[in-house]
Each structure stands twice: as structure tokens, then as C-alpha cells.
């Protein structure tokens, strides 16, 4: 039996330590990992807990991230509670196996510490890796600070392992800005944290020797479509209600309330930005300041990126006149993903908000308050004019001549 740790009510943790403590508290059976900045301390932390007798699980050092996720898939198919962490290039190397994990309906939790993808090589934060995984069939949750990186791990295990869901889940946190920034984190006791997630309940596990199964079978045109449709059905119908139920239960336990779509100053907002990660916190501060200057500014933070909360987004933006969609990933030849997703969510509604897209923060470039003021100023002009007064896609915080498209 693993030893427990008596945590203070508030610990000073960065996002990595918060995630690592969550993995310990839910007593993950297997962590298979390959180190990559900035996510390394998460799996290093778990390995330390294991070495010191605070978890009963296994830590497997693999030869690559592809091997790490493959090992996680094997352990999950065998019937264990499984987790790992990675970033950037490591996530890219995992990509093939991410589809295996979700297609095999294995509830693995991946802490993705968001980092730019090279070239040029870059260890700092942006959302390129998060975006790369968005069609991989994983649930994707987004944390804006260490507290949320901690809390959302419990939500991820609870939802992912539910037998009506059985889909792997990613908990995103911003590289360095969240992962290496220590803040006060309200903790759960080991007992309360474990009880919230509950014992792992295996399903079709290979270690059930009375019911032998083959995992990862081959299908061709005669079965593949049906399998993928079933996966989409679970993502589109089962996951959102389970996440909402988990958020409700978590609020009862901790008093901390999470929503599929986080709204700040949105009740009477005329202009709003939609963003993810640490940018949400900066935008909230700027929105307050804009209001002092008479601009009814609001902020929408995406908490659940996959499955995409289409109806909740449409409802949150119902009465807004101009919306700025802030994408922290190079769209490489298109409008940003948030622009397209939000446009798709609003198109068949009565909302005629003017939508514009901002590309910002690539490779760890800061999104300053001044940047957000200029964005809100653009949006106010769009709202007043009732039409787009700026290019549809603008680059923010970029050196050299102003860059924009459409």
C-alpha cells in the first residue's frame, strides 16, 4: 500500500507539479514516458513518487514518445489506469498512436504541456501541439493556470474511464507560463482526490483471462466506418453530459466551478475575444480595463476544446456584436481553427456577430495587455460599424511590416 502525503490546504506548485501530484493521488498504475521540455517534471515527479513509495504503479522509461504512448496503450488494454505527459515534437511523434488509443477506446490521460512545433526548434509555449491533436479522437481539456491543471486531471480520469465514454483525454496547459510558474494551488486530500475519481473499473481488459480478447484488430471497408461512427457518437453525445456531471460533482467537493465554455463579463458584452490557456487570464484583466473606458468587453475561454461545445459557444456569443478569435498556432494556409470553429457554431443561428481572427504568441511570444487593448479597439470599431473594418486575419506582436490576410 502506497504511503500518503499530508498536503497543506494551499501548496505552492507550478503546473507540472500540480499535474504530477494529481497522477499520484489517483494512483495511476502505469506511466510510460519519454522526457521532453516543458512536460518532463510531470513524469519525473511521478517516477519520484514511485521511487519513494507514494504510488504502487509502474514507471516505464521508453525509447521515444511513440514507444511511450504505445506502452500506455498496452497497459490500458491490459486493464490499468494509465497516464503520461509530453509536449511539442514528442506529441508529434506520438500522433500515430494517439489514433490507436482513441480508436481502441482506451481511457489514457495525457498531460500535454503546450509548446511550439519546429522548425525552427523552440521550447516555448504555443498551441501548435494542441491543434495537431484535435482530430485524433481524444477529449481535450484546457487549463489556464496550475490550479486548473491539477483539477482538470481529476475530471479527465473520471470522464475518460466512464464506461459510457471510454475515450482518452488530454489535459492542456501552457508551456512555462503554466507549467513552470508556481502559484498557490488549493489541494484535495489524497483520500478525497482518489474517492472523487474512484477505483479503476476495467472493461474488455486483457488480464481478464476468462474472457480472452484481441485488441487493435484490423478492419477494412466492411467495418472501419462503423467503428469510427461509434467513436464519433460517443464523443458527440456521451462526453459533454459526463463532463458537466463531473464539473458539478467537483464543485460540490471543492467549491471550484468549471464550465464547458468559461464566460467573463459576457452578460452585457458587445465585443468579446475567444481564446485558450493563459491568454484567458490576461484578456480578463484587459476586458475589465476596457469597461472602465466604456467598452463593453467580455472574454470567452474554451475549457473543452474536444468535443467542441458548439451549442454552448453559440449561446455564449448570442448577443455579441463583434468577436475576435485568438489562435496561438500558425494556421498554415487557412483561417485559424478557433475562427473556423466559432464561425461554424454561429453560422446557422440568428447571431450576426462580426468575426475576425488574430494569430498571436507563436513560439512563446508574449501576448501583452497592449495587444489585447488594440484587439478590443478593433472589435469596438467592427461592432459600431456593423461590419468588418479590419483584415479578417491579423498577426499580433509580430516584428516587421504589419501582416494580415483577406
Amino acid at each position: 500500500m502506497a504511503d500518503t502525503i499530508e498536503l497543506r490546504d494551499i501548496e505552492v506548485w507550478d503546473g507540472n507539479m500540480a499535474a504530477s501530484q494529481a497522477l499520484r493521488q489517483v494512483q495511476v498504475d502505469v506511466v510510460a514516458a519519454y522526457p521532453i521540455t516543458p512536460s518532463t517534471p510531470i513524469v519525473e515527479g511521478y517516477a519520484g513518487f514511485k521511487a519513494n513509495g507514494y504510488v504502487d504503479g509502474e514507471f516505464v522509461m521508453t525509447e521515444s514518445e511513440h514507444g511511450a504512448m504505445s506502452c500506455c496503450i498496452g497497459a490500458a488494454a491490459a486493464g490499468g489506469r494509465v497516464a503520461t505527459a509530453t509536449s511539442s515534437q514528442g506529441f508529434a511523434l506520438m500522433l500515430e498512436t494517439l489514433y490507436s488509443a482513441s480508436g481502441m477506446r482506451l481511457p489514457i490521460v495525457l498531460n500535454l504541456v503546450n509548446r511550439a512545433i519546429g522548425a525552427p526548434l523552440n521550447v516555448n509555449g504555443d498551441h501548435s501541439d494542441m491543434y495537431m491533436g484535435r482530430d485524433s479522437g481524444w477529449i481535450q481539456l484546457g487549463a489556464y493556470c496550475p490550479q486548473e491543471a491539477y483539477d482538470l486531471n481529476f475530471i479527465a480520469f473520471k470522464v475518460s474511464e466512464d464506461h459510457d465514454v471510454r475515450l482518452p483525454a488530454i489535459v492542456n496547459q501552457d508551456g512555462f507560463m503554466t507549467s513552470h510558474t508556481a502559484q498557490g494551488v488549493h489541494t484535495l486530500s489524497d483520500e478525497a482526490a482518489y474517492k472523487f475519481v474512484g477505483d479503476y473499473k476495467p472493461m474488455n481488459d486483457m488480464l481478464d483471462l476468462d474472457h480472452p480478447v484481441t485488441h487493435g484488430v484490423q478492419t477494412e471497408e466492411d467495418w472501419h466506418f462503423e467503428h469510427k461512427a461509434r467513436q464519433q457518437h460517443a464523443l458527440m453525445t456521451a462526453v459533454i453530459p459526463k463532463i458537466e456531471a463531473a464539473f458539478d460533482e467537483f464543485e460540490k467537493l471543492t467549491g471550484r466551478k468549471y464550465n464547458l465554455v468559461e464566460t467573463y463579463n459576457m452578460d452585457d458584452a458587445e465585443v468579446a475575444v475567444v481564446c485558450m490557456g493563459t491568454s484567458v487570464e490576461t484578456a480578463r484583466e484587459v476586458a475589465e480595463e476596457m469597461r472602465v473606458n466604456g467598452v463593453k468587453a467580455g472574454v470567452i475561454g474554451i475549457r473543452v476544446f474536444r468535443p467542441w461545445p458548439l451549442e454552448q459557444i453559440a449561446a455564449a456569443l448570442k448577443n455579441v456584436k463583434a468577436v475576435g478569435l485568438l489562435d496561438r498556432s500558425s494556421p498554415h494556409g487557412a483561417m485559424g481553427a478557433l475562427y473556423n470553429e466559432v464561425a461554424g457554431s454561429l453560422f446557422n443561428t440568428d447571431t450576426k456577430a462580426v468575426l475576425t481572427n488574430y494569430i498571436y504568441g507563436l513560439g512563446g511570444r508574449d501576448l501583452t495587455k497592449a495587444h489585447l487593448v488594440s484587439i478590443y479597439t478593433d472589435l469596438k470599431a467592427n461592432a459600431d460599424a456593423g461590419k468588418v473594418t479590419t483584415p479578417l486575419q491579423q498577426y499580433i506582436g509580430l516584428r516587421g511590416p504589419k501582416l494580415s490576410f483577406f
Binding site: 477506446r105 476468462d210 474472457h211 480478447v213 485488441h215 462503423e226 461509434r230 457518437h233 460517443a234
Partner: protein, 137 residues
């Protein structure tokens, strides 16, 4: 097997080997095991084969080498007696013939369409030891 709709099967890229629970499966003979429809045991892959091994019991010493080495468990052996080949699953790789130690061999490869009686009638005779050593590479 029956093709069900997207909501008509168990989730995951997962197939069950047996219908219901099984116990002591290792001591249950294959023909007595409750293999499921989705198990490869119930599917014939005979058409993958171009050449087939044929068995001549006159020379077999029941050493079980073929049973041990067959990669598809297609050598049927009971009570350590070689009794034949599972032609639904044999893919004609020829390993059983390679490992057969008798002189002449008790298993030989023939074209898929070869008549078994005709093959047995033209089975090679025992070779002198020196010749046999040359033949084995």
C-alpha cells in the same frame, strides 16, 4: 460473420476469442473450445496457400518437431501422435517440411491441386546417408 450497424457491436477495435467465459482453455482441445464467430479459428484462410504440405504416416516417428515449429498451429497432434494438417489455417510456409527429420521426410510440399493418393504413391524412397547430408542445407 454478420455485418452489424455502427451501434450493434462492442466498442473498441476489440474482438472476443470465445463465446462467453472460458476456463482451463489450455487443456481443452481446439475442437471443443467455444470459439466465437470473430475468432480466426472459425475463418478459413486456405486460399492464401499456393503449395500445401502432405503427410505420410508410414515414415513419421511422432517427434512433434512439425507441431512445435508450425507458426499457425496447423499441425494436428493428439496424445503426441501426428494425425494431420489443419488445411483451413495452413498457409503453406513449408517450415514443417524443413524441420521433419525422417528419411525420407514424412511431410513434403506439393502443388495445392495435387491429389493426396497420387502424392503418396510417388513419395521418395529412403536415401543413402551420404546423399541425405548433401541434400540438407
Amino acid at each position: 460473420m454478420e455485418k452489424q450497424g455502427w451501434d450493434g457491436f462492442e466498442i473498441g477495435a476489440m474482438l472476443r476469442t470465445f463465446e462467453g467465459a472460458v476456463r482451463d482453455i489450455a487443456t481443452t482441445l481446439p475442437e471443443n473450445r467455444p470459439y466465437s464467430q470473430s475468432s480466426s479459428f472459425t475463418a478459413s484462410v486456405a486460399d492464401w496457400r499456393i503449395e500445401k504440405p502432405l503427410f505420410n504416416k508410414d515414415y513419421c516417428i511422432d517427434c512433434q518437431f512439425c507441431w512445435v515449429y508450425c507458426p499457425d498451429m496447423s499441425i494436428i497432434s493428439r496424445d503426441k501422435k501426428m494425425i494431420g494438417i489443419d488445411f483451413d489455417h495452413c498457409k503453406g510456409c513449408g517450415i514443417c517440411v524443413q524441420v521433419c527429420p525422417t528419411n525420407p521426410k514424412s511431410l513434403l510440399m506439393f502443388p495445392e491441386q495435387k491429389d493426396e493418393e497420387a502424392a503418396l504413391a510417388e513419395w521418395p524412397k529412403k536415401e543413402k546417408k551420404a546423399d541425405a547430408e548433401v541434400k540438407e542445407d
